[in-house]
Subunit: 468 residues, 3 copies
């Protein structure tokens, strides 16, 4: 018997369940468009086998290891590397055993469903993970990974990925992307422009990074105008590797639109390392507006991912570094924060700014009302902790009545866990179809319209909004 219920996530009354089933059937096999995520372009460049099951499912997945850590399992035992290079578990089988024997901690979480989906659909395993089945499942997956049909490019094709975006720093040389292009392989892997290292005065090595940006572009990044020119140049370089978007992970959604002379002065202060925290924040806000202005020229879509209090635990940051599950959402204001950018360009339909949130209270209060009137704004899908059955449903229930469907942009998987990509898109498609089925059954949407919307949400809107 398959682990996965074929009707999972559908409504339970027969009327809307049948509608959801029909809608899902129409989108189940559509290609995957993955316009925002964190897969490693090296996988597709080198096309080497993934090392072992633990390194595929556990060690890189902060959703999984944060939950195990919360119940007292040290990160070292899960193979998470230490900043000081000290010893951590390297035996994939040992890590897998610990994971399998604690798999009950993930009950009713999206991670449970993603893992079970990947094991069943990608690796053909219908066994339930537990201490008892740890070794057998490890052997099975490890064996698969040695076979050609489990190489990164083969999986990419099997997953029916029509296009996938990775995310690279503005000063990344894009070597892996170049290698993919030169390989002759037809898979569409594009980059995205992530300039945190060169727009955030509080980023480690900001001034050096800006100097590097200057070298890479041949622009004089010691001046404000040269610095802006370097961004334009670099964005064009990223575009030449398929980029259609930039991505910005600031702590808040703050934007500024100060006079250019003031911005130039603030930039000089930032380069000199003399910005106060408030000035650094203002500079980041200014740079969002500058990026939006560049976007009017080069067409890169601007993504804003605010609201995470990153690396919340000082001791864990010291021991294990960034991205170890200690990023905690905080309240995020959009109404005041975005006003400078919106006053400058918000009614220009050529601009496309995609907003994300980790503060669900903003859905109905701020984001849907903003996106429901400003032509330049669209709503990104339920993000991070909310990329889940309940989270996606809340997103639709709290945004659709005010922003409609057409101010949203389809689904982002936003993942570094490659094998979870089909599972994540499947969950989103199921929940969207459940939502649409309910709308039809309660007289809020025509059935024929629901079929059109289902395709829009599963496929078409992502391509259109991200210009892919």
């Amino acid at each position: 018997m398959p682990r996965l219920n074929p009707d999972r996530l559908f409504p339970l009354d027969s009327k809307s369940r049948d509608l959801a089933r029909g809608l899902y059937k129409s989108v189940e096999n559509l290609p995957i468009v993955s316009p925002h995520g964190h897969t490693d372009p090296r996988w597709f460049a080198e096309n080497q086998p993934f090392p072992d099951p633990a390194q595929l499912f556990v060690t890189p997945d902060h959703y999984v290891f944060r939950m195990l850590f919360s119940q007292g399992i040290p990160l070292e035992k899960l193979g998470v590397p230490r900043v000081d290079g000290g010893p951590t578990e390297t035996d994939g089988r040992e890590i897998w055993r610990l994971f399998a024997s604690n798999f009950h901690l993930l009950r009713a979480t999206p991670s449970q469903m993603w893992v079970e989906h990947a094991l069943q659909d990608v690796f053909g395993l219908e066994t339930k993970l537990s201490a008892t089945t740890a070794d057998a499942t490890y052997d099975h997956v490890a064996d698969c990974l040695t076979r050609p049909e489990f190489l990164p490019r083969a999986l990419f094709e099997r997953f029916k990925i029509e296009a996938i975006a990775t995310t690279e720093s503005a000063i990344d040389p894009l070597n892996w992307h170049e290698m993919i292009r030169n390989s002759g392989w037809k898979g569409r892997v594009v980059t995205a422009y992530r300039p945190d290292a060169v727009v955030d005065p509080e980023f480690d090595g900001f001034a050096d990074n800006v100097a590097t940006l200057g070298e890479m572009t041949g622009e004089d990044t010691t001046t404000w105008n040269g610095y802006l020119a370097a961004h334009r140049n670099r964005r064009a370089f990223f575009k030449s590797y398929g980029a259609t978007s930039s991505d910005h992970g600031h702590a808040t959604a703050r934007t500024e639109d100060m006079p250019q002379a003031d911005a130039a002065a603030l930039f000089a202060k930032a380069l000199a390392g003399k910005c106060s925290a408030e000035e650094a924040d203002a500079f980041r806000g200014q740079m969002l507006t500058e990026m939006a202005r560049m976007s009017l020229d080069d067409g890169l879509v601007l993504q804003i991912h605010p609201g995470s209090s990153r690396n919340h635990s000082a001791p864990m940051m010291a021991q294990f570094g960034r991205d170890k599950g200690f990023d905690i959402p905080t309240q995020t204001d959009y109404v005041r924060a975005l006003k400078p950018l919106l006053d400058a360009m918000g009614t220009d339909p050529r601009l496309s700014v995609i907003l994300f949130t980790l503060d669900e209270t903003a859905y109905s209060r701020e984001l849907a009302p903003l996106a429901g009137v400003y032509p330049a704004l669209k709503l990104g899908p339920a993000w991070w902790f909310f990329d889940s059955p309940e989270g996606i449903m809340r997103f639709r229930q709290q945004t659709t009545e005010t922003a409609g469907f057409y101010n949203t942009v389809g689904f982002n998987d936003d993942t570094r866990a490659f094998c979870s990509i089909p599972a994540r898109h499947d969950v989103a498609r199921r929940v969207d179809c459940a939502y649409l089925g309910n709308l039809v059954a309660t007289g809020r949407l025509d059935e024929a319209d629901a079929y059109e919307v289902a395709t829009d949400l599963a496929y078409r809107l992502a391509k259109q909004a991200y210009r892919l």
Copy 2:
């Protein structure tokens, strides 16, 4: 086949759907009490035909035109007037075509349901709006509008409106209301006292408005006491035109209860145009408390509608003026904000303050706990963006357990779209009956009690709370 599903918005399991159907049947045809809204008293005074379908359904409805604008359709093409008097579309048929061909943008929004309800029930049209049907539907509605049974008073009677409140500025002469009264027509159209122009030091022309208030009332509004007397006088005048409430649309729910000498000094500063932003805010807060005090004498119910960041886009405000869909909700605190007023009068059962919100997070956290203990407080219904199937259901789910039903006040349609009034009340009645049906089916409410509550929510509470 009718466009509208006769079971729309009911639960999908047979048990609670049957209960909801029965409950709805018992309230479906109750008269409409519309205690708060923005219909134009001129319609009922002159009783002239509505001009054309676009001017009835599109041009005045910010819910509709904001969604079309968000997808890149210029407001000029929808006939929305410009501040500079520059050209905008005047051909109703052209506007209607644009509306009909973009009607899919409103999928699953309440506007879609309101428009379809009005077309079907008011105009007898069961056609789906689209580019293809644009001309035929336009012709049909335009033809209806020429007939006597579609004149404002005829529709008023056909809609079974028992009483409707419009909203007028404190310095409005109430000429249209006088004309209605003198006409001998029996329709009950009452006004409501909206003093923003004379209580908000930041309102355009505040000092002039206060002077006008003085002239209209024969009071010396250059002094604090004269100013308060003018308000009392003007409230009595509004009461003579049926007003049972005042209405206050401040940016926050802030109240103050400063010593009268301080209030007088602040008033003098406000008249002299010398208030800081903080002082202006304090003055508005003081005036809410003063209005509450007057309410103890004259019995006008006090409505507070806070939390909108109005006219968010500076360029759109400059081009098109107020009320063009750019009012965006923000976080709203009630607990600290209302304390001065509540300490002064909150436990007096003679006072009735009706609270609204655009910040749904306040429902369970602040509003229900406050209304569930202070005799002077009642909760207004789900408002503005939340006057929708999901919004009304969230309101009930998040307030009932703490505030009960009897600290709520029934439904407000709050609309300037006359033909949507029956549709809006119908949606509210259906969702309330769906909620009640679910409570009965899950053993939380007796069926007989649910019938009583259904009538309370659809009809009785609005009359009682607004003293209509």
Copy 3:
């Protein structure tokens, strides 16, 4: 016919309803573990009859009397004592009549269900409360109360309470607990350490209270180190009466971890009554961290109950004192507030901090992400206004996907209404089983796992998390 629907609170579709029924059957009769509440230890010490129905159901229950008050019924008529000792109703029958004739005000509130459950299951009454049935129901309950099987200890045993925690001030002598211990009765009634009076510089009589603490413990509480030693001593004393937890009801979740010298200086200032509001707040924050440090040694679990704006109405506080239904939730931040404590000890699995909230927006945004990674953190159940069918369901829907089940701690009844204890646990068990039934039916949880989780939520996690 019983008043209570045997399927109450279960899902309405047959698939998940059947699952919920089965799950509920497996936990329905499990013993009650009540790790946090406000029952009076005197009841169990003296084992005297409860005085009359009104004093059991109305006068001490702020949920009930706040709702009646909100509709204009004076607290005096409900027998709530006045601060000035002035006259209030003392005739239980009169109070009961007022309660019964206004019982409709509680429709669809949890109080209605708790009262009806207690009347039916504890007193065998299946009559609906109303003006008509007031006298008969009063007589019936009053008669019961005279019988031995309705004495406190008999009810305790009948309710199958395995363990119950009361809450006492740090300077309470625990005489009733001593009397219980000496009585030879086997019922497990433990205390909990509530030090507000001696950790909050703004508490009435703070300095005197600290002096009393010194006398009770033989420590020199005029010095910081002596004061800390006194806490350690007193915690040990509370442990000797079974305490396994401390409880902290601060206005915010603020913690501090200042150098000990700074803490000592601030303590001196607090004792001298010279703290500013900000300094008092910082001191409370410091004491949370100190309590956590002591917890590492003595194992008392730390409960944080923040976010209530207590005694909101100044006139009601003056007339009736604390805890009269005027405690109103406010926005509560956890991410910044807890950082000092978490940086100090948050990753230590020996520490157990249980977090509560009155701000439901924190569930998915802050609390689940924090508890889903920090080993020292667990989430307390839906609290106070949210200890209700909708509230408990929202808690599960908004926390499980990120924090899982095993970072939550089962149910707290948190009540002073003794007869409502079985009803409250029953509601929590039903709603949890409804939630689990839905997860199984929608393919998110295996049925066998759901049975295990049901027992965990109803029984095992409370024992484990509270070390009972």
